[in-house]
Amino acid sequence: MPDIKITPLGAGQDVGRSCILLSMGGKNIMLDCGMHMGYNDERRFPDFSYICPDGPLSPYIDAVIISHFHLDHCGALPYMSEMVGYTGPIYMTHPTKAIAPILLEDMRKVSVEKKGEQNFFTSQMIKDCMKKVVAVTLHQSVMVDNEIEIKAYYAGHVLGAAMFWVRVGSQSIVYTGDYNMTPDRHLGAAWIDKCRPDLLISESTYATTIRDSKRCRERDFLKKIHECVDIGGKVLIPVFALGRAQELCILLETYWDRMNLKAPVYFALGLTEKANNYYKMFITWTNQKIRKTFVQRNMFDFKHIKPFDRQYIDNPGPMVVFATPGMLHAGLSLQIFKKWAPSENNMIIMPGFCVQGTVGHKILNGAKRVEFENRQVVEVKMSVEYMSFSAHADAKGIMQLIQYCEPRNVMLVHGEAEKMEFLKEKIQQEFNLKCYNPANGETAVIQTPVKIPIDVALPLLKAEAKKFSALPPDPKRRRTLHGVLVMKEGGVCMMEVEEACKEAGIERHIVRFTSTVQINDAGPCLSTAHKLHAYVAEKLPQWSVHFSEGEISVESVLVKVEGDDDDQKSVYVSWTNQDEDLGSFVLNALNAVGK
């Protein structure tokens, strides 16, 4: 039996640096190529030496697929393609192709210029890497080569996020990347058709969360900001330029509109304006509501949110500022933080994860004093809030997706091990499906049934259909297809035996048997024949036993009664060799009557 082999290099019982190797039908495909935001050493990138201890990966990998632009899914891409070496195709959606290089460049700058890291990829490498990218549209069937076919489905989560269906021969998988089964402020819900893959590889970040409490978190977020500006405080929201920032902006924009608030809201200029432009252009990837209303008012043309200028930092009165970067490790957000932290009226809201070593990480852990390189010390009196807004499917959503696409097996990645175990059990119970959750570097082997497509001559199918439809309808009736497979250069075709012999240029030799059984039964032959018919039909319940003109027939087996009206009757049973088993079964049955 053929199999599918899956080895996570990252995201196996873990969140971060998603990178999953898939082998099926002799093809190797890399699903995502992310980095781990929590490490600064070589653990930051997936261990590509697993694929090949030394030298480029191109001979071992046929295609790379990137699900979305988050760095834990694409952050290692330039490293893999330019430094380790990969020249094959990389597939991603148009928005991902547009946005990923910006985030990669942003991250590179922070790592190299601010933290002074060595041996990191360069700007040029990002550009060279992006040249290898083939952009795909949703639902388009893309042939990577003659055998690999991929298709992207909408995944919600972030702009341009996609789930990928991958087929090689008769085997197929679906890789979800990160997805979201409930529409949010600016994105729609993930959707997939009943594609029945052999394996569904699903993320499981929120494997144990049953009810999405996002609405509550949103209300909380707005309430906190509102309270803060009401007492004249300043709110700082450090964000990364793309993704969550846009959702929070829509959230604030609509709230400001509804509550008629006057406190200014600013968005740090530059990259952000550009970022909003991406959202405007890729409006077809957002949710129904935004798409419907974009002509009257583009959701990303904000009315209340204005560009920020550094001079505003010292402005009196309340304000809300979105500033980059999100982890408070450098740049404008840090500058504002230093100014505002000492006032207890002010507030900082961290809407995402912060890496160890950053100021963001320190204050989230309750640091009340933060010391900087130049011995500058900042007292943190402002309130510090953490709110996660990441859009992932919860347990219910994951189960829903399984229902949608009806996989034969399920694999959980991108989640914590214990939570996975819980969901794994649930999936096994509810759907009776095998569920896997390999750790990093561990290989899961999934057996798949094969279905081999063969050509069949139409007359053979039509003859069967005619025979079948001539019988009274019975859903339980077995339909049997029998024919001869002709294998020759130029293909394999199934056809009727006579046709096959003609194709091969041979003459059939028909072997027929006729046996005689003596039966004592008085009366006319016809009545004996009727009795035998009933008897044979009873012995062969699943077969259609015919009776016409005194003869009983099942397939090619014929039963004929001869003799005078006296006791002794000769019963002839005749059949061709192809019905040997059936013929000898009938003969033995009649022999039993004869005795």
Binding site: H94, A98, H139, Q140, K151, K274, Y278, M281, F282, T284, F294, V450, K451, I452, P453, I454, D455, V456, A457, L458, L461, R478, R479, T480, L481, H482, G483, V484, L485, V486, M487, K488, M494, V497, C501, E503, A504, G505, I506, E507, R508, H509, I510, V511, F513, T514, S515, T516, Q518, Q542, N577, Q578, D579, E580, D581, L582, S584, L587, N591, G594
Partner: protein
């Protein structure tokens, strides 16, 4: 396989294709030539049109016909809301249609006539731009006609067709003409459309697969590839090999079809779109510099985007960039906005702009700089304050029978400095202008049709190598206007069959299915034992339980004990060898008799007889299975089998 032709206009096609028990409609274009026979619909009553004399046939005095027809110049027009010629509904019941495939937004205007009130229950497939822009065109059409309601409907004239002057007398099936649908029908009809992407494989009841492939003609335009297991049919409609704003044509997907149906070729076979664009720019420049206004009748989408782009550059060069461009259409804002979000459907040059990110079309910039101003109507807020002359106005409808353009013609028609420039190829400009004559304004004709011309089409056919080519009959003859230009035809050639069709015909297409496809499971496959009959040819029997679901055939392992491993014998049986084998089985009393070609072997002791012929053997014996089994073994050992 059959093809029904339901439309009289190859540029507004509508076909039915039946194959594998599936009834598919290919496009549902709405021919609008009929509206040219009607008087224009102004928002406010027009003196000129109202004062046109009534026309009556010479020997007719039917009072009911009185007032239905008006005369202007040599032409007679119907004074009534315009009517349209929908696809023929006599050949097929639309309730039977399983699937409608739409190739581009210009070929779907009859959709509400097909899907609403007909019992239609099938699915409609179109790309996202086709749906979105098609909606704009339909809405625009309905708004144009509904905003100018007419008090009376003329219908009597249809009974006097033979007495009417040309071209009214030549009207095509006027009794089948219909009033336009309402907005509710448009919405409910469009709600049936399922959006698809290029190269998306769509399964049609398991029997067929349909795939839209980019056709390069306009945003979201597609050619459809229809395949079953072994057959490939390509429906090519509205295609272009020129480089304009849409995604280029996908040649690969449509190659080597068994049947290629080709329609919707250029309507201006003699002129070249590039030189027409050049002429247009010159005319616009000259008119503006002479202080005149330019009126360009147009659809609210399509080539108009390219015109904004070219003209703005040209106007800059000619020093008339201070003259504004106005784009007036109830859907102008939507059209401009949509075109800038459909990156995935654009040429790669335009597509790459999203990575900058930059606006896809320069018209976004032109709007920002107030070089291009768009309004829903001429009576919309702000139009009268922004309006300044001289200027360029893009406005619909190109047939000049409804829409704001009616007023621009009234406004500017008497000034010879103004100029009306025809760029849309759908309507003959002389016919279009007929009810307004006499006019003082200049008329320029620069029809820009980017769809395939005959040279391009013939070259394409040679590249695509279809086995059978199916085209409207009119493409096999030179244009009526230029009968000597035989190069403006589709060539018959090579070993491909050329089948012409025309309106109302049902033609049989020479595509005979010979093979289907079944899937066999591992357990069944494992039982296949190929026997090599001769070099390169092997045979093996195969038996299993057949499961048919959604037209997909699966063979599963059969658990039937009585009919499992059926084999077939072949060749001839050698009598001597047979006697030898019998003795191996312990039967030595064989007595051989020969009657011509038949050999009979008698076995006295066993009460049996074997009759041998070249291609058959008959074993006749008593009911004793032991004996028969021995005989069978002997026979089987002498024969080859697979």
């Amino acid at each position: 396989m059959k093809l029904y032709c339901l439309s009289n206009d190859p540029n507004k096609p509508c076909h039915i294709l039946t194959f594998r028990e599936i009834t598919m409609m290919l496009d549902c274009g709405l021919s609008m030539q009929s509206v040219l026979n009607f008087l224009p619909l102004p928002f406010v009553p027009s003196q000129k049109l109202q004062n046109l004399p009534t026309w009556m046939p010479i020997d007719v005095t039917d009072p009911e016909l009185d007032g239905e027809l008006k005369e202007n110049g040599e032409r007679v027009f119907v004074d009534s809301p315009p009517e349209f010629c929908p696809p023929l509904d006599k050949l097929i019941d639309f309730a039977q249609v399983d699937v409608i495939l739409i190739s581009n937004y210009l070929c779907m205007m009859a959709l509400p006539f097909i899907t609403e009130g007909t019992g239609f229950q099938g699915r409609v497939y179109a790309t996202e731009p086709t749906l979105q822009i098609g909606r704009l065109l339909l809405e625009e059409l309905v708004i144009y006609i509904e905003q100018c309601p007419k008090a009376s409907f003329a219908s009597q004239w249809k009974n006097f067709l033979h007495k009417l002057p040309y071209p009214l007398s030549d009207s095509f099936k006027p009794k089948s003409w219909k009033q336009i649908f309402n907005m509710q029908s448009v919405n409910s009809s469009l709600s049936r459309i399922q959006m698809v992407g290029y190269n998306e494989k769509i399964d049609v009841y398991g029997a067929l697969q349909v795939v839209p492939a980019s056709s390069g003609y306009c945003l979201g335009s597609a050619n459809w590839v229809i395949t079953s297991d072994h057959e490939k049919i390509v429906y090519l409609s509205g295609s272009s090999t020129l480089t304009t704003h849409p995604r280029p044509m996908d040649h690969n997907s449509i190659k080597n079809a068994d049947v290629l149906i080709m329609t919707d070729l250029t309507q201006t076979p003699i002129s070249n779109p590039d030189s027409m664009l050049g002429v247009l720019c010159v005319v616009v420049g000259m008119t503006l510099r002479g202080g005149g206004n330019v009126l360009i009748p147009c659809y609210p989408t399509g080539v108009v985007y390219d015109l904004f782009e070219c003209l703005s550059v040209k106007m800059q060069e000619l020093g008339v960039s201070n003259c504004p461009m106005f784009f007036v259409s109830p859907v102008a804002d939507m059209s401009l906005a949509y075109s800038n979000i459909l990156a995935e459907w654009l040429s790669s040059a335009k597509q790459n702009k999203v990575y900058v990110p930059d606006e896809l079309f320069p018209h976004a910039m032109l709007v920002k700089n107030s070089k291009l101003k768009h309004f829903k109507h001429i009576y919309s807020d702000g139009f009268s304050t922004d309006f300044q002359e001289p200027c360029v106005v893009f406005c619909g409808h190109p047939c000049l029978r409804y829409g704001d353009i009616v007023h621009f013609i009234e406004l500017w028609g008497n000034n010879p400095r103004n100029c009306i420039v025809f760029t849309e190829p759908d309507f003959d400009y002389i016919d279009a202008l007929a009810p307004y004559q006499p006019l003082q304004m200049k008329v320029a004709h620069c029809a820009i049709d980017t769809s395939l011309n005959f040279t391009q089409a013939n070259k394409l056919i040679r590249d695509l190598k279809p086995a059978t080519l199916v085209v409207p009959e009119c493409y096999t003859q030179p244009p009526v206007s230029a009968p000597h230009l035989t190069e403006y035809t589709i060539e018959a050639g090579g070993d491909r069959t050329l089948i012409p069709y025309k309106w109302g015909e049902v033609i049989n297409l020479p595509l005979k299915r010979k093979q289907g496809q079944v899937f066999i499971e591992t357990a069944v496959a494992q039982k296949i034992v190929p026997v090599e009959i001769k070099s390169g040819v092997s045979l093996s029997t195969i038996t299993g339980t057949l499961q048919v679901k959604d037209n997909v055939y699966n063979i599963q392992d059969s658990n039937d004990k009585l009919k499992k491993y059926v084999k077939y014998e072949w060749g001839t049986l050698n009598v001597n060898e047979f006697i030898q084998k019998l003795s191996h089985e312990g039967i030595n009393d064989a007595k051989v008799e020969t009657h011509g070609s038949v050999v009979v072997v008698h076995l006295q002791d066993e009460d049996a007889l074997i009759q041998l012929e070249d291609n058959s053997t008959h074993v006749v014996c008593s009911g004793d299975e032991k004996v028969r089994t021995k005989l069978r073994n002997a026979v089987m050992q002498c024969l080859k089998k697979f």
